[in-house]
């Protein structure tokens, strides 16, 4: 048990002041920040490449040329400094990291060699393609088909929620390779190059403002070397990766960087981080707003307990461990941001950039964004199923219709 502060000794201070900050000054240009703000996907290719060149782009992902790398404390410093400049969005590249983990574990040597340089240079990014318009939580119900044709596969179908696909080079997707067996048994995993003929990426807006994508595949030809793992065994791979996404994974799986960091620092990413930033904005507003009767908003006892309640929720989210955190972090985020809209009142409704917007419209944005947190990466209902079955040992079940 250890919650002690990490001292900024001379070396760490030097790293922050002489390496990280100058790097960010140079690379996080207004242009990069504007692009991130507009799309909210959490990465901008030019910045990715710069990180890679510096050796700071998740160097643990695939075997390959060595890089400078960062120890967990160094990585945390970089995260914090990034977050301070970019604001609540700009998540760590979770999907890409997940894909690379699967590639490292299940990709052929040939594929790994092919990808290594590009990944290390930050020029190859991958997104996920599990969800389809007709299947989300039931991820094994996919309809996308892949048919073998010599050394190639011909893939046809639709994927949804492939966030970042318009900026990525690959999508890791599940496709049905055998329709004649039980649904979990006929799925194969592929890392599909997005530049293939027959593939079309179309943007779709979300309530939170981020762009996500449909990926349409119309007889796209994909070489067999892009297959990940054995034919018809893709479900096990996808479930492992889903489990990691749900925070159910153990420290040795895809989650390893997170697991490693967990023992070192409080996570700076995740929704509890966003809620903390939104709370800070509301606290700033309350501390600097003087009412017509001359009192400060923050002197109102009712306001104080409501803000304290949210501070409590932030701490609860932060210190509730995985796989439990996802549920509570989303629940309190949705509830608390809704209350902050009320607390700030009419001006909280104004969009960023409009006359009278409060704290850059952050609460208005967060209220919309919050609705996605119970859905991203599998709904909180699925997460509760997992907790009930795998942690509490309650019976697995499925629903069947009566009559």
């Amino acid at each position: 048990m250890d919650f002690s502060a990490i001292e900024f000794d001379d070396e760490l201070r030097r790293f922050r002041d002489d390496e990280v900050r100058p790097f960010l000054d140079e690379q996080l240009t207004d242009d990069v920040l504007a692009r991130e703000r507009a799309e909210g996907n959490g990465f901008v290719p030019a910045y990715q490449r710069a990180l890679a060149a510096r050796g700071w782009l998740e160097p643990w992902l695939v075997d390959g040329p060595t890089t400078d790398g960062l120890d967990p404390v160094g990585a945390a410093v970089l995260d914090l400094e990034q977050a301070a400049r970019v604001g609540p969005l700009f998540p760590v590249q979770g999907s890409h990291a997940l894909v690379m983990q699967v590639v490292r574990q299940f990709g052929s040597d040939e594929l790994k060699v092919e990808l290594a340089d590009g990944v290390h240079a930050g020029e190859i990014q991958a997104c996920l393609g599990y969800t389809e318009p007709d299947c989300g939580s039931d991820a094994a119900a996919i309809r996308t088909r892949a048919v073998r044709d010599g050394d190639e596969w011909r893939i046809t179908g639709q994927k949804m929620f492939s966030t970042g696909a318009h900026l990525c080079q690959f999508v890791m997707l599940t496709a049905r390779t055998n329709p004649d067996v039980a649904k979990h048994q006929g799925i194969t995993m592929f890392l599909v190059p997005l530049d293939r003929p027959g593939i079309d990426v179309q943007g779709i807006g979300t309530l939170g403002g981020e762009r996500t994508n449909f990926v349409y595949l119309d007889d796209a030809h994909v070489d067999d070397r892009y297959r990940l793992g054995p034919v018809d065994q893709g479900w096990a791979i996808a479930s492992g990766a889903l489990a990691a996404e749900h925070g159910m994974g153990d420290a040795s799986s895809a989650d390893h960087r997170t697991a490693e960091l967990r023992n070192v620092i409080a996570s700076t990413a995740g929704w509890q981080g966003v809620l903390r930033d939104v709370l800070a904005a509301a606290e700033h507003w309350a501390a600097t707003t003087i009412l017509s009767d001359g009192t400060c908003v923050l002197d109102d006892p009712v306001v104080r307990v409501r803000l304290a309640r949210i501070a409590l929720d932030c701490a609860v989210s932060e210190f509730t461990p995985n796989p439990f955190r996802r549920v509570i972090a989303s629940d309190v985020f949705v509830r608390d941001v809704a209350d902050l809209v009320e607390l700030i009142g009419p001006a909280a409704l104004i969009r960023e950039g409009e006359d009278g917007a409060i704290e850059d419209g952050m609460v208005e944005w967060a209220h919309r964004f919050a609705q996605g947190t119970s859905i991203y990466g599998g709904t909180t209902d699925i997460q509760r199923n997992l907790i009930a079955e795998h942690v509490l040992g309650l019976p697995r079940h499925r629903a069947v219709l009566r009559r």
Binding site: T131, P133, D134, C135, G136, S137, D138, A141, M160, F161, I204, G205, T206, L207, G208, T212, S292, V302, R306, V334, A338, V341, E342, L343, I344, G345, P346, A347, A348, L349, I350, R351, E354, D355, G356, E364, H367, R368, Q371, G372, S374, I375, T379, T380, D381, R384, R398, A399, V400, L401
Partner: protein, 332 residues
């Protein structure tokens, strides 16, 4: 005290409700709601609504109205909410009742917050209203500004704008002192009653969209509505909507029949309705999963309006404080 508790609609009330349900279904489909954004105003729909008598039904006959009451308008407002109709009916009815005249060619609205002097405030329908009624100091004022209002893009795609009650323009004092304050309080209370009805409509629509999706969308071989996680969440929304509707009716009834006791019912109805509407939309989005979070889903229209239409009147906790004041007197 014993009170009747009759929540049935009279035949003519039922007909009114059906007629406006049909009007809004036809004239305010999602495509037209979307087309009205970000301003949140559809002038043709407004003309249709005025022609249908929605604005004047609750005005005295002497003022060119139909002599109906707030109950009638509440029935209409619920249907308006159900289709997220981009028309400032609630504001215009309430303001017209203060003015005691049917403003059919100009749009009147109510500035919901009393101000000491020429402070600006965010006014519902302020981006499209010609006349702003409100309380400035101890004067109840109708103000027609010279400058065109500037719409402010906002969460609920409502036609909000920063407005004042004085400045360049024509300023008419309708009342002063206690009379002014009382008439303003009545108007604000009526706005909350009608908004409670409108929020009930938003909640009903969100529930309907959630239920329809839960019946269609399949997962694990069954419609997702067969899972209690989905079914119970929607059942809770239904519980909220039914209470919200009856409380709104009751609040409107008190406004019409016992205005001296109408504040507590109004606050209760409004507090419950806005909470239910926000939760209904949030839960229905969750039920729709990834699709619900995209802008393709109509749920986002309702979700944004739930808070967007209500919070312009202020923090719900202020209504809770007011409810405390009604029950316990002003503190100290």
């Amino acid at each position: 005290m014993l009170r009747r508790h009759d929540v049935s609609l009279a035949p003519e009330q039922g007909e009114l409700r059906s007629a406006f349900a049909a009007l809004f279904e036809k004239e305010s489909p999602p495509a037209r709601v979307r087309a009205s954004e970000p301003l949140g105003f559809d002038r043709d729909l407004w003309s249709t609504l005025v022609a249908a008598g929605a604005l004047t039904m609750s005005l005295p006959e002497a003022a060119g109205g139909d002599g109906g009451g707030l109950v009638d308008v509440a029935l209409v407002a619920e249907q308006l909410g159900r289709r997220a109709a981009p028309v400032p009916l609630v504001e215009a009815v309430v303001a017209s009742r203060v003015l005691a005249r049917a403003e059919t060619s100009r749009i009147a609205t109510l500035a919901l917050h009393p101000v000491a002097s020429a402070q600006r405030q965010l006014v519902p329908a302020g981006a499209v209203a010609d006349i702003v009624v409100g309380l400035e100091g101890d004067e109840l004022v109708a103000f027609v500004g010279d400058d065109a209002p500037v719409p402010v893009t906002n969460l609920g795609s409502a036609p909000l704008a920063w407005r004042t009650l004085s400045g360049p323009g024509t300023r008419t004092v309708l009342a002063r002192g206690r009379d002014a304050r009382e008439r303003f309080d009545v108007a604000r209370r009526e706005w909350k009653v009608l908004m409670a009805a409108a929020q009930t409509g938003l909640a009903q629509a969100a529930l309907d969209l959630g239920v329809a999706y839960a019946n269609e969308r399949e997962a694990f071989g069954v419609p997702i509505g067969a899972f209690q996680a989905v079914a119970h969440a929607l059942a809770d929304v239904a519980v909220g909507v039914e209470g919200s509707r009856h409380l709104a009716w009751r609040a409107a009834w008190y406004s019409d029949h016992e205005p001296e006791h109408a504040l507590e019912p109004a606050l209760v109805a409004y507090l419950h309705a806005r909470e239910v509407a926000n939760r209904a939309a949030s839960i229905a989005i969750h039920v729709q999963g990834g699709f619900g979070f995209t802008l393709e889903s109509d749920l986002q229209l309702y979700f944004r309006r739930a808070k967007g239409w209500a919070v312009v009147s202020g923090d719900a906790h202020d209504d809770l404080r007011a409810l405390g004041d009604v029950r316990y007197g002003t503190p100290g």
